[in-house]
């Protein structure tokens, strides 16, 4: 029988040490405010840092984009979550429907956030809004104004690109269409969009800009945010070319309103640090936080937001 070499005998012990290290990862490194977020931590960290600086309270986050409500539900009364931050109205409402949030009574929030940007039962509050806009080829599209209804017009046949219609951003847009025009008209509109598609829906919003750059399509549906991201991408200058190939058109519905995708915040039902959590919610709606939100990449923050819908400013800045 071959003798066990030293390496082979030590290996299991080394691994056991790793094992215990992993096990020791505590269930909740409880900070003063604990956040479950379906929005990427990179995007909220600057605001959270500002909050910590101002108040001395620490924050901890987990980015969960699928199953956030289920996790809180399963954790029940002992859930460490204080705040739930989500992107898109659909997810805000899903959290509400799942019963994992609770109402917040705050004069600050009521003052800072216009009524139609918060839940009437005070269970969610929108913090930012991104216009769902049209990217159009600078070369191949002359129009400087487009309305959403028009995208279904046969003149765009074979010229339209979009990400999956099952993505929350597009679902929300279709929902808005239903709200404005009713189900029947929305069905016709969506059918029209489908017939206009230059290729089957794929990729993310940024890929649609890329497709226009490539000449695969002339108009696309996307959020303002991604244009800013591409414009400011110093490491990948190629992306500036993509962004330069398109112009951002802020479309409206026939009634003059632009559809925005909101992101927002809710207080978790069993928040262990309720008081701190509300402090953070109020901070997020404050001018300081809103300025930070608005800065990096053209995502329209809620307050700079649509006093005049279709904000010329945004179009000009792109």
């Amino acid at each position: 029988m071959k003798r066990l070499s030293t390496a082979r005998t030590t290996l299991p012990f080394a691994l056991s040490a790793l094992f215990s290290a992993a096990m020791a990862a505590p269930a909740a490194q409880a900070a003063d405010v604990n956040i479950y977020t379906s929005r990427q931590p990179e995007l909220i960290q600057p605001v959270l840092d500002a909050f910590s600086e101002e108040t001395g309270l620490t924050t901890a986050t987990i980015f969960i984009d699928k199953g956030l409500e289920e996790r809180i539900k399963a954790e029940g009364a002992n859930s460490p979550a204080d705040l739930i931050m989500t992107v898109d109205i659909g997810r805000l409402d899903a959290a509400k429907q799942a019963g994992v949030v609770q109402p917040v009574d705050s004069a600050v929030l009521t003052k800072n956030i216009p009524e139609h940007f918060r839940d009437s039962e005070k269970e969610w509050f929108a913090l930012t809004a991104r216009g769902r806009v049209v990217y159009a080829s600078k070369e191949r599209v002359d129009a400087d104004a487009i309305n959403y209804e028009e995208l279904a017009d046969p003149k765009w046949k074979g010229r339209l690109c979009t990400r999956s219609g099952q993505h929350q951003y597009n679902i929300a847009l279709i929902a808005a269409y239903i709200a404005h025009h009713g189900e029947e008209a929305a069905r016709e509109w969506v059918t029209g969009l489908r017939d206009n598609l230059a290729r089957s829906p794929e990729g993310g919003d940024r890929d649609q800009a890329k497709a226009i750059f490539a000449g695969e399509c002339d108009v696309a549906i996307g959020n303002t945010y991604y244009v800013g991201q591409m414009m400011t991408n110093e490491k990948e200058p190629a992306q500036k070319e993509w962004a330069n190939a398109i112009k951002v058109i802020m479309p409206t519905f026939d009634n003059g309103l632009t559809h925005v995708n909101v992101s927002g915040v809710s207080l978790a039902k069993n928040a262990p640090n309720e008081e701190n959590a509300i402090k953070l919610m109020e901070f997020l709606s404050s001018d300081t936080a809103q300025k930070i939100y608005a800065e990096p990449q053209l995502r329209v923050s809620r307050r700079a937001r649509y006093r005049d819908v279709g904000s010329r400013q945004i179009v000009r800045r792109t």
Partner: protein
């Protein structure tokens, strides 16, 4: 170390021969407990699926599922054919012929295993997209301006998904099949050659049928990974059943319906596995032992050698070189990220979690496989069959199956402690490293257990009997005879699980603690805000973390072959 008498002609001995001894009932109980722990998430999912009715079934059944089922079947068929072709052809070439670069190819062919499917998908799209190097070159050469000037296949399609998934999954087939070719295949092939068969007919009539069980094992691993994949197919716009599971859950807010689809898929997979087993029930694969597994040494003519090299290089190029190139290109512009503490913490988390998962899974897999061998318990065998299904369940769905019982247990303990001692323990296991390891353990049991089970079938039960006859206790038999013989197989199993676990994403995301990133979640978080480039350094690290184990894996499998 030849414990097995050489020349001993071995047949698979029917399991009813009882190897049990005193104390085995206790062992059996532990094995059952283990199997139950693995089965718990499935039970939770069944409970979840049964606890609510989906209002969407009529809609799903008429509009979504038929199409999704068709796409999934095509994807599976394509992946089966392509991984089978890549895997079998390359294994045959390196095991049979001598050509320049064979030694290099024989291990480089395993490398694509280190590349996660979702990362491969992103890299391929970047590589083949309009602005990528291939199309730019085409335009430069032909003077095209826009994508409308020429035709180029869209990699974001079903065929693209088949190609991409197969490019990184074929090593499963390659590894299992090469082992057969080197071991049993050599002798059989030599005999056939002596009897005048051509190289081609040896391959078709002798080697291929001989390798069938190995192909089935390799292909089924590749298929399970294709079925549960969401990252790659979502990005490529391929609407599989798993995609339907996610969209039913997240877009329709219908977790019940989603779980029901997932379980239905699982049922179909079980059926497929049973059909495959049934189809080869009559075949008996006796495991003759090559004294020393020598790769064939037949020289190839120059032209054929070039072809062989090309055939081996192609899958490596697709599954490894292209992703590495794309990631490397992005990463070079982001070397400053290497100074980021967060990245190194993520690396540490990845390695510890994968190591722990590997260890736990292999230990448990060994106990289950040995339990079946020792006792021949039908019930345990059945439980073990269930235990390896975790790999076929979409990761996030499985994670929910883990979340529910784990949080339930935590809350129960907490309530008890509050009632009894007025102390709140809170959540102990939920949202800890434990939960992630548990998920990996359930998910990758197929790898851990599978390679051990097949290694066990190669160990003659006579060994156990001889040891027992010579007065060894069951425990001593295990430690003095079985474990030393199983060591290469244990290492193989560990490495397979380690590599898989270091790529794991969807369960980790849902189950992790606060401020806890692994390399995979780091990449995902960048990707989900459309900045895949910023995740390139981390993605490259995932691949690098995988390379070493994959290289060792290759050697340990060869070692296993040598021991036969």
């Amino acid at each position: 170390m030849s414990v097995i008498p050489s020349g001993h002609h071995r047949r698979l001995i029917p399991w009813r021969i009882d190897l049990r001894g005193r104390g085995d009932d206790g062992y059996l109980a532990v094995a059952f407990a283990l199997a139950a722990i693995v089965a718990m998430p499935f039970a939770a999912l069944v409970w979840l699926a049964a606890s609510g009715t989906s209002s969407n079934w009529a809609h799903l059944a008429t509009t979504i599922l038929p199409e999704a089922a068709r796409v999934t079947l095509q994807l599976m068929l394509g992946v089966a054919v392509l991984t089978g072709t890549f895997g079998v052809v390359t294994a045959w070439l390196v095991a049979t012929f001598d050509f320049p670069g064979r030694r290099l190819f024989s291990w480089a062919l395993v490398l694509p295993l280190a590349v996660p499917t979702y990362i491969a998908a992103y890299c391929f799209v970047e590589f083949l997209h309009f602005a990528g190097p291939v199309q730019s070159a085409i335009r430069a050469v032909f003077g095209f301006q826009s994508s409308r000037d020429y035709w180029f296949p869209d990699v974001r399609s079903l065929w693209g998904a088949i190609l991409i998934l197969s490019s990184v999954l074929y090593p499963y087939v390659y590894l299992t099949v090469r082992m057969v070719f080197l071991m049993q295949g050599r002798k059989a092939a030599d005999v056939a050659r002596t009897l005048g068969a051509s190289q081609a007919s040896v391959f078709l009539k002798v080697l291929f049928p001989l390798a069938r069980p190995a192909i089935a094992i390799g292909v089924s691993l590749a298929l399970m990974e294709s079925i549960n994949d969401i990252g790659a197919v979502e990005f490529l716009g391929v609407r599989t059943l798993t995609f339907a599971v996610y969209s039913t859950w997240l877009n329709r807010g219908d977790l019940y319906g989603a779980t029901q689809i997932a379980l239905l898929m699982l049922a179909v997979i079980v059926l497929l596995v049973m059909v495959e087993r049934f189809a080869r029930r009559k075949q008996r694969f006796t495991l003759g032992r090559a004294d020393r597994p020598q790769p064939g040494s037949q020289q190839l003519s120059r032209g054929k050698a070039v072809l062989a090299c090309a055939a081996c290089a192609l899958p490596i190029l697709l599954g490894f070189a292209i992703p590495l190139l794309v990631l490397g290109d992005y990463a070079l512009r982001r070397l400053d990220q290497l100074a980021d503490q967060q990245l190194w913490r993520a690396l540490f988390h990845t390695v510890t979690l994968a190591g722990t998962t590997g260890l736990v899974t292999v230990l448990a897999g060994f106990m289950l496989a040995y339990g079946v061998r020792l006792t021949g318990s039908k019930r345990l065998k059945f439980m073990t069959r269930l235990a390896v299904l975790g790999y076929a369940v979409p990761g996030t769905v499985l994670a929910i199956g883990i979340l529910i019982p784990l949080a339930g247990l935590d809350n129960w303990v907490d309530a008890r402690m509050r009632a009894g001692f007025d102390v709140s323990t809170g959540l102990l296991l939920t949202g800890s490293g434990f939960a992630i390891v548990y998920a990996g353990f359930v998910r990758f049991m197929a790898m851990g257990h599978g390679s051990l089970e097949s290694a066990f079938t190669k160990l003659s039960p006579h060994l156990d009997m001889a040891a027992r006859t010579l007065g060894r206790s069951p425990g001593a038999t295990l430690f003095e005879v079985i474990l030393p013989l199983m060591r290469p197989a244990l290492l193989t199993a560990f490495l397979l699980v380690f590599v898989e676990a270091s790529k794991e994403l969807s369960a980790t995301i849902l189950l992790r603690p606060f401020d806890f990133e692994t390399l995979a979640t780091f990449v995902y978080s960048q990707t989900s805000r459309s900045a895949f480039e910023d995740g390139s350094v981390a993605a490259l690290l995932i691949v690098l973390v995988g390379i070493l184990p994959v290289a060792i894996l290759n050697r340990s499998i060869l070692a296993e072959t040598a021991r036969g």
